[in-house]
Assembly symmetry: C2
Homo-oligomer: 271 residues x 2
């Protein structure tokens, strides 16, 4: 029987990666774990992030998966080397694919990276981009208000207008310096940020390419499975299974906004 | 030897309660625990909040305390009954003192309550206010963006202006309905919110009294210790001891803003 792909995130953001996986690999079975009892990871220390990430990975391994996707920039940036040392399963994380796409995309050799505090502190994107091309200048900035803005659940057209104003103000503040510094490529280095793509694109203008790690990561997963001859032989499309460590209702509700379709079959588990 | 007062919060917000305790009870020894490895509690389920709160309390009990302060509205609202059932030490939480002050304060009989999702969902403030006076109407609203706005760490005068604009917009959106509904008392039902007091007061106007649970709670702690003849006999002022479950540097840095003075002696512990 075909095994599943296991995907984990600190919470709900990894659904943007799962969404791309569904698109690129419609015949694969997917198991998603959101560690909602300990979300967010982005304000925590590297040691704690590594510990949580290993527990997440071990839970998915017990479900019998063929490949592990670290669908969280913070965990990818802080825990990938640790997970690769501890586990023997193929692991795809989100930093490498995003960094490669950024290096391909920049013409002026100046790239901006935005993410959580822990992702920016790790310097993982900058290191990976510079490994590909040491000439590229990388400017990084953490944007702590973006995640709560994406998760804000106001309703109705008046709320939408307020929220858009808040988003615009915040984007202007966080990204104003990048614009002055003349970057031509901006990495959305957090799985929540694709939901701010329109606001960010409007502010940065058409000359700045936005790199969405989710899309790049899904392509990499396809490549790895193909290379290892692990692609599913099935032709059915099975809905993903979701596990969370807390508050399944909140996950179901918010998740639908991330996925664009209904999130179903969410089970709460203890770790 | 005099025992300490133990205080816990999901993270850093409880420092607003500790600050008031220092003012009201300058000769008491204080031990603070911030569960920064699992912060925030406000978006989590009641079951998970109860489990975390009990672990926090047990850690403090091991330090040999004479009284436990639940310096977190979310934990107070969701876990107080559970803690009182499990533990035999005197426990002071923040909902009761805030509710009593709100009931005393309102003239028109209409009170607003703001807090995290989990505090508002628990209905704890409304239940406590109505227990005191069933005629009082209580209107509640969760304000998820307030905590990240308080923790936002922009620097410089230009950042301050931006942040003030964001705060004003958010306050207007969350509290606009309260103003229309004619409340005359607003409970700041989250330990982070006293740091938004000026913005909230400016928007609500001088006719609306703001209830800060931290101040009321410190008075209650004084009363309980006096009643049980447990007040410290010492005349020295000893700086508080701080424990966190993750990222002591972040706690030290942000904490200074909450406390108004330097946070020192922060130790990381595992639970």
């Amino acid at each position: 029987m075909d095994k599943s792909i296991g995907i984990f995130d600190s919470g709900i953001g990894g659904l943007t990666v799962l969404k791309e996986l569904c698109r690129v690999l419609p015949h694969e079975k997917l198991i998603y774990l959101g560690d909602t009892a300990r979300v967010p990871y982005g304000t925590k220390s590297s040691d704690t992030i590594r510990r949580y990430a290993l527990e997440d990975a071990l839970f998915l391994l017990k479900q019998g998966i063929k490949l592990l996707v670290v669908a969280c920039n913070t965990a990818s940036a802080n825990a990938t080397a640790y997970l690769k040392e501890k586990l023997s399963i193929p692991i795809v994380e989100v930093i490498g694919p995003g960094a490669r796409q950024a290096a391909r995309s920049t013409r002026v050799g100046r790239v901006g990276v935005i993410g959580t505090e822990a992702t920016v502190r790790s310097n993982a994107y900058a290191a990976e981009i510079k490994r590909i091309d040491p000439e590229i200048e990388v400017l990084s900035r953490s944007c702590p208000l973006f995640v709560p803005l994406v998760e804000e659940n106001w309703n109705g057209p008046e709320d939408e207008a307020y929220l858009e104003e808040l988003k615009s103000l915040t984007v202007k503040r966080y990204l104003g310096a990048f614009k002055e510094q003349g970057i031509d490529t901006l990495v959305l280095g957090c799985t929540h940020y694709p939901l701010l793509k329109d606001t960010i694109a409007r502010f940065m203008g058409p000359a700045v390419a936005l790199v969405d790690s989710a899309q790049e990561t899904a392509r990499e997963v396809h490549g790895v499975l193909q290379g290892m001859q692990l692609l599913s032989s099935g032709r059915d499309t099975v809905p993903p299974l979701y596990f969370v460590t807390d508050a399944p209702d909140r996950f179901t509700h918010l998740g639908t906004r991330f996925l664009g379709t209904a999130v179903e079959q969410v089970k709460q588990v203890e770790m």
